[in-house]
Homo-oligomer: 340 residues x 2
DNA sequence: TTGTATGCGTTATCAG
DNA sequence: CTGATAACGCATACAA
């Protein structure tokens, strides 16, 4: 038996012996309806398993859908999960539903997803921009009244609201913290690609920290990796240098995992570490991991607040909200330079 | 200026001076179209910022939407993020897009989300059932040809495919592992509510492990918590008992974090621990954390494979796939019973 | 190569 | 209180 056609309003109406509009009225509690027909309709709806076609409804009503579309690069990175949670909490009160999809950090897939969302006439669009994506095509939507917010990274080709962490300042603070504990050779383990906004900003903060302390920038101390395993390998490479670093700065949570794993594997407890972005169990490690913590939930909440204000008619200029980071001192960042 | 009406096919057609159908043709690369009109149309589309209304399109075409809807209880739990990743990878090859939303483990919200998905005529519905949810309303859709898959937990009131971990066997193995190292007083720190399927199954495995070793079940050794902090407090309570456990079994990843955090805080390295579900940095802890690892990506892939087979016409009976767990021995589960 | 009539499932309008 | 009819934005069938 092939998939049967789904029941429509008309089917329900025929079943009961009323008009389609009457069924519609009952379901939407729109106009008046006698208790008798009401019950009959409800019974028929249950019997047939009728499910209103929201697309047909939307096409008729014309208004935007009550959905917030969110595009993230990676569904399995807890950072974006936390951001999504923050958004969800904030928009639910307004009756909006968050739907999240992945771009895999690929501009083409990001575009396909946003188009899908836009085609559905969502109420708010939130995007963690992929490297190389062009957001000029969103201009019309934004000027047409659709709130568009960039998260974690700024977009390209479109002036709209964005919410980012204080990447540069946070890294500067983290590196300065290491310097204050005597370190002068500090490795930077960053993610890829190197032109990723957050990567660039955090590297810039690292460099400004060094500069402030009159420590020359040494390119051989800056390495990159795609994932945790790569970060571990990169860490190993740094420690094998003729003049190895005495401290490491992790460019994000994944890099932090790789660094910590490699230091544990090689039983090195003398290397100081500060990581950008917190990770679970950081306080349990030995030494406990000192981090420049981001506030992903707050990033989400802030983005939601901005978007909701736009929905309420705020037509002011596009603004960039910077969510502050916070240095959490736990131990790994306060290790001294080993005597030699 | 209020939000202007979005441009439609007709608007584009008027702009160019052709019929709506012609515009439709170029956009869908459907019928033939002269290069001249083609360019004109494309120009007008860009100029007006026209975005086809996918709902109108879909309602006309009638076919299902190319979306896979996924309902999870918590967007910020990395376990579900990994499951989603597995699904995404598997369905993308078929041109399907994964969209994920949160039920917050609330039946009403789960229902609202599934209704929203169903109203959009998604191709596949995947649900991590909330406690207390009734899935009988999905019957019509499932028999109407919509693949419905339950993940991580079985659904209620609907016979359909589901994919779960080997919770009972895994727990049994984990507890038996502790017993093999001499432990007889083993605490169980589980999540809430206690009637949650995974919680019940894992507790059952714990009990069967004890029973097999002729160790009496002691209710005072079974505690529960909502979150990591709660798990830490529960752990503390267990260790304060007059006759405290010498080993702990964590009912899920969050409970594991709480246990590990509390043991670190109280500087207890003599308590053996086995956790259900792996956590990052488990191998770096001291002692490294022995776990009964789940395979969330595989759960996702398996669910996707099942659903795709249904889409291809598989009308065989509903089946339950059990994804095996794997005991990963790292150290914490092999600690001996302290001498006293 | 292009246009016209028609219908998808729903709701708004207006009449009964 | 209820129903007939038109309309939403788009695609199919057929004609030109």
């Amino acid at each position: 038996m092939a998939a049967k056609r789904r029941p429509t309003l008309a089917d329900v109406a025929r079943e009961v012996g009323v008009s389609a509009k009457t069924v519609s009225r009952v379901l939407n509690e729109d106009g008046p309806a006698s208790a008798a027909t009401r019950e009959q309709v409800l019974a028929a709806v249950a019997k047939l398993g009728f499910q209103p076609n929201l697309m047909a409804r939307n096409i008729r009503v014309g208004g935007p859908d009550t959905t917030v579309g969110l595009v993230v690069p990676d569904l399995s990175n807890p950072f974006f999960g936390a951001v999504a949670s923050g958004i969800e909490d904030a928009v639910r009160e307004r009756g909006l539903t968050l739907l999240m999809g992945s771009s895999a950090d690929d501009p083409a897939r990001e575009r396909a997803l946003t188009d899908k969302f836009l085609g559905r006439r969502i109420s708010i669009l939130m995007v963690v921009p992929s490297v190389g994506a062009d957001h000029a095509p969103l201009k019309g939507h934004r000027s047409g009244g659709l709130p568009v917010v960039f998260l974690d990274r700024p977009g390209t080709g479109l002036a709209t609201d964005s919410v980012v962490s204080s990447n540069r300042e946070g890294s500067h603070e983290g590196v300065t913290h290491l310097i204050a504990h005597g370190h002068r050779r500090i490795g930077f383990v960053g993610d890829l690609p190197t032109k990723l906004y957050t990567r660039r900003e955090r590297l810039a903060g690292y460099r400004s920290g060094l500069q402030e302390a009159d420590i020359p920038y040494d390119r051989s101390l800056v390495v990159s990796a795609h994932d945790q395993e790569g970060a571990a390998a990169a860490t190993s490479g740094l420690l094998d240098l003729a003049d190895p670093p005495t401290a490491l700065f992790a460019g994000n949570n994944i890099m932090a995992l790789g660094i910590v794993a490699e230091l544990a594997r090689s039983k090195r407890k003398d290397v100081a570490v500060v990581a950008f972005d917190d990770v679970s169990l950081a306080e349990v490690l030995e030494p406990a991991l000192t981090v420049v913590a981001q506030d992903p939930e707050e990033i989400g909440r802030s983005a939601a607040a901005t978007a909701l204000a736009r929905l309420d008619g705020d037509r002011s200029r596009a603004r960039t909200v910077t969510v502050p980071t916070r240095l959490i001192v736990r131990g790994s960042g306060e290790l001294p330079v080993p005597k030699r």
